[in-house]
Symmetry: C2
Subunit: 334 residues, 2 copies
DNA sequence: CTGTTAGCGCTTTCAG
DNA sequence: CTGAAAGCGCTAACAG
């Protein structure tokens, strides 16, 4: 690791002042094309590249972004991260990835660390913080985009999934297929998505004249094993159910396992709908009918929004993007 | 976003010099416990936190790391990233995540950008660069750990999966079940893992006295669809095969699809073994027998190695860690 | 034990 | 069009 070439080295070698080099590097107009070329040549020959941190210290813009997710190993988030990182890369930014492991304490800690690194913008996915805490934390950043979480103010961008529509789509699909006894396994009670998906389901059922029954609705952590357990319990208490909507595909896969244990044949004896359309959804048997959320595109869009707000400083109104889920019909609920 | 408190502010408020504050912040010994306490109080009251970039500029240590992966949305890598980020967080480092999308050009670009950010260390997974290019690129960093890729020198740490053993385990399992006609669908020809898994398979077959046939070995991109295609072609040319080992679980899932199209019943008419044991492996039908690679632990260990080398500067010998895969027997190859 | 003087590498004034 | 001076916030070396 040889010592890095600095701007001073270049200035020296080109026989100009520091400032001239700086101007060339930053593509300022007021340099004669002759000197510009000379400097450029030296830069090229010496392999000079500016130090991001020195520049960051001087300008308070670091060219770095923060990307916070609850669990990078969850395909839903890894898809988002892929899209987001892509977009950031395309515009020349580097991104700090922070995994909170669903722990609000840790979320707070990574936000603080991000702050200390003077990131230019923050993309925060599915924050698990209390509204007031979140508002406060977020206020320390120059630019913020929230994904799948809403607060009334203080933040410059929001990207939401139309979860209510998703819940409604799923329910209506089942209603049209003639189901009248439809259960709902929602995610953790704190989940923003869970709340709205449930709301969509409820209103679809009510609109159709078929009531809801409290017992048909249950909650679980959004992982396969918990989905299995929740399904076993739900079907034990309410064997009359002919269809179940699950908070996400992982829960739905758990439900498939449960049905196999109960020798309940899918989809005839139970129709199943998931959410997200993760890769697993199309490879299980039966393949899952699910509300697809375009994960990568969501990441791209959210990051795009963040970058737009960083660049156009005048235009800082809160911008909201709503992503619509799409029902993908497969064998589990034809 | 109010203006940040600086060290000078603290010095002022505490009636001491800049240096004293610096000493307190950095937990140097030579400060009277009295002044130390006073400074600490002011720091607390003002909510002062040091600027990572200013410190980075002064010390050339930034508290940041680079983590480069070919595809963050591939569960294999998202598991590694989860483990690695965890470990980095535990030791107070922030990590830049860079996704290369399997593109060597982009890999080179992100490495350069990481260099410009003066990261303290680099963890590079499954580099797609040519040996010489890789060696050169890596030489610009103070500390490097390579995952699943080996070069003779110039880098301080290596974490390898014992892929040869994995290939051997898979082959021996099939041999013991009585198979003698075993195909192998390897990953891309450049893949380090692919090469060694294949080698393990070859030597197991040779050791057992059963020869190998070139045609039984084929290559494909490590994704479901390509696995499907490769399987169709392989079985068309060599219908006599009774078992196939796949480069990873995604390819194996593709193989399942192919068999279903060919009405070839698994595992009776074809036994299948994958690699990695991603979550999908246990939910497909039939469930995949696979060589598990402990992805998250791999990430933890690799990052742990990197951090150890950053901290103990004296002890910079190349350290190698070898992770052993474990055969998980399921329905696809009982 | 504490303070002073430089300087990390770059940009932002302001002069020429 | 180009350069000199000052400073971003912090730490490393010396002094005292």
């Amino acid at each position: 690791m040889p010592n890095r070439i600095t701007m001073t080295d270049v200035a020296h070698a080109a026989g100009v002042s520091l400032m001239t080099v700086s101007r060339v590097v930053n593509e300022k107009e007021d340099v004669s094309s002759e000197t510009r070329q000379r400097v450029l040549d030296v830069i090229h020959k010496l392999g000079y590249r500016p130090s991001s941190i020195a520049r960051g210290l001087a300008t308070r813009r670091t060219g770095t972004l923060g990307l916070v997710v609850p669990d990078i190993d969850n395909p839903f988030f890894s898809g988002i991260v892929r899209g987001a990182e892509n977009q950031a890369y395309a515009e020349g930014y580097s991104v700090f990835l922070c995994n909170t492991n669903e722990d609000p304490q840790r979320e707070l800690a990574v936000l603080q660390s991000l702050e200390d690194h003077f990131i230019d913008g923050l993309m925060l996915c599915s924050s698990r913080l209390e509204p007031d805490t979140l508002r406060e934390a977020v206020s320390h950043f120059p630019t913020v985009v929230l994904v799948s979480r809403q607060i009334d103010e203080a933040c410059t961008g929001t990207l939401l999934i139309d979860d209510e529509m998703g819940g409604r789509l799923a329910a209506e699909h089942l209603l049209q297929a003639g189901h009248t006894k439809i259960g709902f396994i929602s995610g953790p009670q704190v989940s923003h998505s869970g709340k709205w998906r449930l709301k969509g389901y409820c209103s679809a059922l009510q609109d159709s004249g078929i009531g809801i029954k409290d017992g048909w609705i249950t909650y679980c952590a959004p992982v396969v094993e918990e989905g299995r357990r929740a399904t076993l319990k739900l079907l034990e208490n309410y064997p009359e159910l002919t269809a179940v909507i699950c908070h996400n595909d992982l829960v739905a896969v758990g439900a498939i396992h449960a049905c196999s244990e109960l020798s309940r044949i899918l989809p005839n004896q139970l129709a199943l709908i998931g959410f997200d359309d993760i890769p697993m959804a199309s490879v299980v048997t039966p393949a899952l009918t699910t509300c697809r959320v375009p994960r990568e595109e969501l990441g791209t869009q959210a990051m795009g929004l963040l970058l737009r707000q960083i660049e156009d400083c005048q235009d800082r109104d809160i911008k909201n993007i709503l992503i619509r889920p799409e029902l993908i019909v497969r064998a589990s609920a034809p």
